[in-house]
Symmetry: C2
Subunit: 515 residues, 2 copies
């Protein structure tokens, strides 16, 4: 095939598609020629007109045409042969050709290629639905998809009230660093996080949470999900056993599943995780716990259970992941001491977050790892996740060191305590004896326990019909023995609305149970 | 045992340890009693003095003592028995006891517990070193630990020059949102990221990178490592095969290893990844590629190789991960079109990042996923990683929409292009014919290819002795056939220093090769 009326092709192409385009002319020309090559309107070997001729035919400057040609050459669509012109390159595998084995340009190729090609040709028409092409773990995750339904509505469990976050102050603290323009704070940052922030967190945890910690043991992560991922990757292998509380925080469960851990659901009673005799016969690598305020059942782990699990971890050489997600909020007395602080065998990795105290989207969390693991975690944190947000970390360090953090916690603790009481006072008279409201004076949510024969998922759906976002307790269970109830967040709901929405919720429950 | 001289214990304890402590008094008292209980100085069942007596003996207010006692009761260390006093609780498993089976308080317990306990007692003295208790994948990661050595020095590959980032402008854009104080921007954010940012990225990719994309296909992540993790989790299972380029970007390799993928190293020649006949016989689930600018070899993938790999992915139902990390920086002509834009079978997941264009620590990246995968990726992104940084995402959307992004790219492209030329001009006369400097006009680094018998790791060490951070090309290889050379980043080095440091580097290489 020889020279084609390229100008006509291009002109009709431009007339059809690109009339309103804001693209520069050379780009439109490039797109048009590229499209013609890909659609075989310009076949392999076709000679393009000279840039001078094409410029004249299209009424474009020669430079415009040259720019388009250079791009086509750079990307390999056409080849310039000195002295003879520009040709469409021979790089397009024809749709009907077999597997192109490297080195053999055409399909009449080697013994490896042929069977594959025909197998594929047969398969092409019976391709499985795309969903089925997710990995096994991917499908498991996609099937559950708790996250997509996330919305801010009254009573969504776990939401802090970030609407009263001190924006102005926070802005001022951040601006100090942006004004200073210290370029090193724009880099990923040294492994482990911004040093003054790590120090401030260590000081805070030592005093407020009785965590035994040096600055070096504190690693800044992008939140608890990231801390959990690192722990699952570094401390367990695919197929290893993780004990989780039953019911369990779904976010942790997902991370373990994504890392192919086998989960064993251990019942939670009024004292926290309560391993049974057949559980003792197993060998967990990880034990995931929320001792300060069990999520979602809202109980506090007793001291005897704490000691029992620490002892078990030491004997079985398991790692305990202590997720202390909202322990800052205890409404009577001081926050309870951490499990980590009781541990004499360095078996606890302690996880904390600023998402519940400051605002969820801050995406800064931390982990306290046993001294012997610091170096492995630091380098894996860098290699697998990359640190960053050092400006934010620096502002947060100031926020803590200058006392604003403690002030904010105190303020929010008062507010949340009031909201909690208000909600309990609203619900009690409506629900009477049909439901038991959890009485632990801490956290951002409470659990309403309901009779075992009720359909708590149906109740949650009815609450959703009223614009309320509560979660059925039974959906947090992995095992067959599920308690029924509702998990209700009160922290985000302003006090003047708690009574109003609380009555609606109470009546939905009462009406649902009566049937 | 009966009432103990608790006041004396406490007083001696305080005198010994806490003289300078800034803790409130009730806390010091709490710590002291707790310590006495944990160390068995106050044994189980011991009766504590009345709060009134203790307050008098210690010269403290009764309220202080009451606060301490309440905390001890809340945490389970002591028990109050109405009418008879406060006693040390029976919750402390003795060190010498066997495994405490739930329900059986003492060690004379069930058949499960006993053998484990003795096995443990024996093991306790021969415990493996802690490092050996990392998971297999954890150990692999800890052994390599590329990240910990990261430092900003001249020629560190991959660093953009964030010292000339427009701090002031960026601060202004961010402040607009902090002033507005829209609480919803403090939340995790809707799945997929801030909508205007997703739209701005789609518009940018469509025009600049020839990516075929709708806004819905764009998902905002916390960077390329996070995009790779999600892809490995959702598209591959433990043991599945991933093809990687050889040499390969180490950060991607680590993520795949952390997710238990089997890696197959496919050689890279002057046209990019070049699968051999025995590679064709394997069935990859993932194919990781850097087509625009191979990392670290610095070659651009040819059009024929692109088509070949797209064809292969469609036939084998593999997913291509196209990591387009620094394609914005092409110094002659426009950036090359993406591989994704050529794909007719929706087999490409396209990965981009703002870390190379703006600053590394911004930790905002994006992925373009095929339409059929959008919903699975969105919900996994929420469940496994949690989104966030919506304030930053909003500022970034404005940065792009108001044209600053394009301006910044143009500015940096000019600068980097000059630096690249300067470095090449400095090195060429020193190295002469002993080394080949990569000639692709793009990216933030170049590769210097050296004779196959040289020790490039030794050369990198010698450069490090001179304060230069270059990486040995051979260390990027997985396979046995390693090319020798050095990977040199020029983007972060100011022009007045490139000639100076470049001469040092050139002389280190020349001297090293001469031996």
């Amino acid at each position: 095939m020889n020279q084609l009326p390229l100008a006509e092709l291009v002109l009709s192409d431009l007339a059809q598609h690109d009339r309103g385009s804001q693209m520069p002319r050379h780009r439109r020309l490039y797109e048009s020629i590229r499209g013609s090559i890909l659609s075989h309107r310009l076949p392999v070997g076709a000679k393009l007109p000279s840039t001078r001729d094409l410029a004249r035919d299209l009424g474009l400057s020669r430079n415009t045409v040259l720019t388009a040609f250079e791009q086509l050459i750079a990307e390999g669509y056409v080849k310039a042969q000195t002295g003879s012109g520009t040709f469409v390159a021979d790089t397009l595998p024809e749709a009907e050709s077999a597997v192109p084995v490297p080195g053999a340009k055409r399909a009449s190729s080697g013994p490896i290629a042929a069977p594959q090609a025909s197998a594929f040709a047969a398969a092409a028409h019976t391709a499985p639905p795309l969903q089925a092409r997710l990995s096994v773990r991917g499908e498991k995750l996609a099937r559950i998809a708790a996250g997509e339904r996330y919305e801010i509505q009254p009573f969504a469990p776990g939401d802090p009230d970030f609407s009263i976050f001190p924006f102005k102050l926070w802005q001022r603290l951040q601006n100090k660093y942006w004004r200073d323009a210290r370029p090193e704070l724009l880099d990923y940052g040294s492994a482990g996080g911004y040093l003054p922030l790590r120090r401030a967190i260590a000081d805070y945890l030592r005093v407020s949470r009785a965590v035994r910690v040096t600055t070096d043991q504190v690693l800044i992560t992008a939140g608890t999900q990231q801390s959990l991922s690192l722990s699952a990757q570094l401390l367990a292998d695919a197929g290893d056993l993780a004990w989780v509380e039953d019911p369990c925080y779904w976010g942790a469960r997902r991370v373990f599943e994504a890392h192919d851990l086998a989960l064993r659901a251990i019942p939670v009673d009024a004292e926290g995780m309560n391993p049974q005799a057949d559980d003792w016969a197993t060998d967990p690598r990880l034990i995931y716990l929320t001792p300060s305020h069990q999520y979602p059942k809202s109980v506090v782990m007793s001291l005897s259970r704490r000691r029992l699990l620490l002892d078990l971890a030491a004997r079985k050489q398991a790692w305990i992941l202590e997720d202390d997600y909202d322990s800052e909020f205890r409404y009577t007395g001081r926050p309870l001491s951490s499990l980590q602080g009781l541990d004499a065998h360095d078996r606890v990795v302690y996880l904390g977050t600023f998402s519940k105290v400051l605002y969820p989207g801050i995406k800064i969390g931390y982990m306290v790892v046993p001294p012997a693991l610091v170096s492995a975690f630091k380098s894996a944190l860098y290699d697998l996740q990359r640190p960053g947000q050092m400006m934010l970390q620096a502002a947060l360090a100031d926020f803590i060191e200058q006392g604003y953090f403690a002030t904010h916690i105190r303020k929010m603790r008062l507010l949340y305590g009031e909201r909690r009481e208000l909600l309990r006072k609203t619900l009690k008279p409506i629900l009477g004896d049909v439901a038991m409201i959890s009485s632990e004076e801490s956290g951002l949510h409470l659990a309403i326990l309901l009779p075992p024969d009720c359909d708590d998922e149906e109740l949650a759906r009815r609450a959703a019909d009223e614009g309320l976002s509560v979660r059925a307790l039974s959906t947090y269970y992995l095992g067959a023995q599920k308690e029924r109830g509702l998990v209700v967040g009160y922290a985000y709901v302003p006090p003047d609305k708690i009574a109003y929405y609380g009555r609606i919720l109470g009546n939905v429950i009462k009406a649902g149970l009566r049937r």
